[in-house]
């Protein structure tokens, strides 16, 4: 019997200290608000430790995708520790290696270039969401357009 998931949890690092953390957060929100609003929910990472039973239970029952800003991989480690192995993991610094011309500067307000990069990261998240939901690849588009 095949299991069909209806929701995917996206766990972003908070990443206050580095611009990559802001990118993780914005990419996650773009997926939630624009690209896959009906198929995704976000899980507040610090709530895991603060006793968010709802968050932990969701992540145990549904697939999760972690989005980390840096190689410390807090979202991935936190998810594994409190709920289970994520379906997929994304690290913004790894994606950044493919855009050597882009230098991330801002943590508070992002530039147009940085937003464009966040959109690329969001598309990568969407690929993994669709994979988890068993959708075909190559159908990334805003559900607002459908």
């Amino acid at each position: 019997m095949a299991i069909t998931w209806q929701k995917v949890g996206i766990v972003s690092c908070s990443g206050e200290e580095i611009p990559e953390g802001t990118i993780s957060r914005i990419a996650t929100r773009l997926v939630l608000e624009e690209l896959r609003p009906d198929q995704t929910v976000t899980i507040c990472l610090p709530l895991f430790l603060a006793g968010g039973e709802g968050e932990r239970t969701f992540a145990q029952l549904f697939p999760t995708i972690t989005v980390d800003g840096c190689e410390k991989r807090c979202a991935e480690i936190g998810t594994k520790k409190y709920s289970g192995k994520p379906f997929a993991t994304i690290v913004v610094k790894d994606s950044l290696k493919k855009c050597p011309q882009l230098k991330l500067r801002s943590r508070a307000e992002i530039s147009a270039d940085e937003l464009e990069f966040a959109q690329k990261v969001a598309e990568k998240i969407v690929e993994k969401v669709d994979e988890a939901l068993g959708r075909e690849k190559g159908t990334i588009r805003s559900e607002k357009d459908e």
């Binding site: 908070s14 206050e16 608000e33 507040c44 610090p46 430790l49 603060a50 807090c74 520790k81």
Partner: protein
Amino acid sequence: MSMSRDKFVFVIPCSGIGKSLGSVGRKAAYTVVEKLRPQNTRITCLALLTVGDEETLKKVREHSCITIDGCPSKCSQKNVEASNGRLVRGLMVTDILRNHRDLKPQGIIKLNPEGCELANLIAEEAAKIVDEIVEGEN
């Protein structure tokens, strides 16, 4: 007035990714650290505390901390407390919103002007606390 080079106050917002209130807290923290009191404050990743990163644990144990939480879940405050950090004050966006009901924040990726104004008020409040800490330590 500034602290010695290795003395900073850490301003730690909740990650608050699901609510506008979280974005307000994050923006307020950046305003304190980057604009209002850059010499005396630093920010650190709350997520690093949740996973028990040694370097971050050391930071919050050795330096005074101010937390800014979006909602009554108080993730930031609880995580600093659970890490035995030196919590001086925990601010909550909803408390300050109660006194400024016209400043209802909206938007998470981009805050509306009311949310930005609310963030500025919280940042000013946090900056006052930083000043008290600096005065006390000097």
